[in-house]
Symmetry: C2
Subunit: 389 residues, 2 copies
């Protein structure tokens, strides 16, 4: 069975929107299927990444979005691993197609974070922390990641300015991405002087809250051949869960990401050095540093150099370009959709659709989507322009 | 690749408990793995069925329960299709093993319905209704199913007493099931005179609220051969989503269940007549009637006769025995665990472990787990004592 391909992609605008989640999905689906057959004529199963029922008091997003796509009587379900939900949906689509379960599967993600709901985004996201160990202390996502950042700055030869430079780079990339929530350049002083959120993390170290939806059609290469679209091969997928509570892990060793990445590389028959472009879940600037090390781009303690041109990075760094989309930081982070937005950036980079943010000659992309605090669940994918036999 | 087998099962007590969800899971896991190797030595992936984060303000049940099982760095995720979440977890385990993705996968489900949480069970379950069309009118699960029951009694030659007899049968079955939440016989007058909930449904037409967890180990037949346990083959699986809103469907035609069942039968190479025992999601008594028709056990308009001995049912009815566990009605319905509790009943019926509720000579079991109101999502499985080649 040849590797599956991504045959079409689409996304809604990202940010504070007037549309409910289902309608954001319709926008994403409409872009993906523009010029293609009707979804009902080809899609055989649907997976939806969605983080929280609390925003819109809605579960059953599998059924809801399948219906909104005009599908009846296909398997459809929601998958959830907090912010890794989108990549989990993609992973199921990939597995179903490569195993011959289906010829065409729709992987989608949606989050309506600004809807408020029960307790707003801070409350909804805190449900990803261990209820018994972490939630009762009132920690939030930024305060959890701040622990990792403090430790990273203690262990590595890095400064708050280095983390700020990651934000500067990602905002700069976003200026060239029409999908970005914040297509706006910032300078390093702006980041360093932005409001403290949880030291050492400041406002501009943190990905924003936003609504958004994304849709990715995964098919057999044969079926994709019937559409007038470029395709990208999904050559490898890996996933790993680690302890949910930060206190039970080494905060700067994102061990699950190592496993997920290694699995995906192995399936794809490549190593980290082969990767030209990568999106590595920069929910906070420190994530890009930590994950660059975990997935094999950077030697230990040097991941923070992701903002430097390849020739200026420490020995052992690969030439990969990180967060060309603007990343979670500036492209945006509508939780359940994020893993699929990462896939869309890879698709656009590898099919010549990335405009003036294109990385020249890019033929291999790597994606890392994580849920909970860093390592709680991680999902990796390798995409290539090569067509498998 | 031979069909996967269920190699071990376990469940927590069902009902109002003092334990949090994760500890209910530990009880279930402990039963399943008693005498087996440590989960960390064999389990390669984990799927968790869980309906609502609102009860315990906890998402990421994949990671949480994998950690609680002592597993590290395996793929683990939550799947959700309201009350069909448990069968969705089982379905993923079955697909992963039959496709060679893994040799051993843990399918589990948990719900801590009595925890209260944001708005209690009624509020949590209402999130399964269409937010735009249904929720704003204040409908609840019983009031939605009452619409189906009213229509069914109008169309079929059935009475409220017939529905009550289904409850009587299931309560009687539960008296022989040590796992049952309500192992207590009731007479038909008790059911008919119980408090009205949403006419024509009365208290005893409705499955109870309860906490519970279940764990089912799915493996290759080869790996299962290393354990000193009987096994059951999962010969077929099917799933289908339909419109989420009741108003957009024919209320008495559970069309998605027809598709899911047909898929599972076809994969298993059997027809409805081959089924000896079945659990068909009697969340409300009318469900057993409607689903008996949809999955091919009963001719249209006669499903309500499930409580009669086979020889007294209408022509065209099969000999299947329904809800031998006591069903959702009396065995209990801890939402995310229910699909796996159904599988446990099938396992016990087919391996001679059903004690004095055993259906003599049973070699084929059928399971139908549904989420939302009846047909919103349905998942079917066929289990047999036959070992596939």
């Amino acid at each position: 069975m040849p590797d599956p391909v991504i045959a079409a992609v689409g996304a809604s605008p990202i940010g504070r929107t007037d549309l409910p989640g289902r309608d954001l999905f319709s926008v994403a689906l409409g872009e993906a299927f523009d010029g293609l057959p009707d979804p009902a004529d080809i899609v055989e199963a649907v997976y939806v990444g969605n983080q929280s029922e609390s925003y819109e008091h809605q579960i059953m997003h599998g059924t809801l979005l399948a219906e909104w796509a005009g599908l009846r009587h296909v398997p459809a379900e929601r998958v959830e691993g907090c912010a890794a939900a989108g990549a989990l949906a993609l992973r199921h689509a990939v597995k179903d197609v490569r195993n011959g379960e289906h010829d065409a599967v729709l992987a989608c993600g949606v989050e309506k974070m600004t809807a408020g709901g029960t307790g707003g985004a801070t409350d909804a996201l805190s449900a990803a922390f261990d209820r018994a160990i972490e939630q009762r202390s009132g920690v939030t996502a930024p305060s959890q990641y701040a622990l990792l950042a403090q430790r990273y700055l203690h262990e590595a030869d890095a400064t708050e300015r280095d983390l700020a430079e990651i934000a500067v780079k990602n905002h700069d990339n976003a200026t060239r991405n029409p999908r970005a929530q914040f297509p706006k350049a910032v300078d390093v002083e702006t980041v360093l002087e932005s409001d403290p959120v949880a030291p050492p993390l400041k406002l501009f170290d943190c990905a924003p809250v936003g609504d958004g939806a994304a849709a990715v059609l995964v098919t057999t290469p044969e079926l994709a051949g019937e559409f007038d679209r470029p395709t990208v091969t999904v050559a490898g997928t890996g996933a790993s869960a680690n302890n949910i509570a930060v206190a039970e892990r080494n905060m700067t060793e994102i061990a699950g990401a190592e496993v997920a990445a290694e699995t995906a590389y192995e399936e794809a028959g490549v190593d980290a050095a082969a990767v030209d472009v990568a999106e590595v879940h920069d929910a906070f600037t420190v994530c890009e540093a930590l994950l660059s090390e975990a997935v094999g781009f950077a030697p230990e303690g040097t991941g923070y150099q992701s903002y430097l041109p390849p020739e200026e990075r420490a020995d052992g760094w690969t030439d990969v370009e990180l967060s060309t989309s603007g990343g979670l930081k500036a492209r945006g982070h509508p939780i359940g959709a994020t893993g699929l937005l990462q896939a869309i950036e890879a698709y656009e980079q590898l099919t010549g659709a990335a405009g003036d943010r294109a990385v020249e000659g890019a033929d291999t992309a790597f994606l890392l989507n994580e849920g909970g605090v860093a390592d709680a669940v991680t999902v990796a994918h390798v995409l290539t322009t090569e067509v498998s036999p």
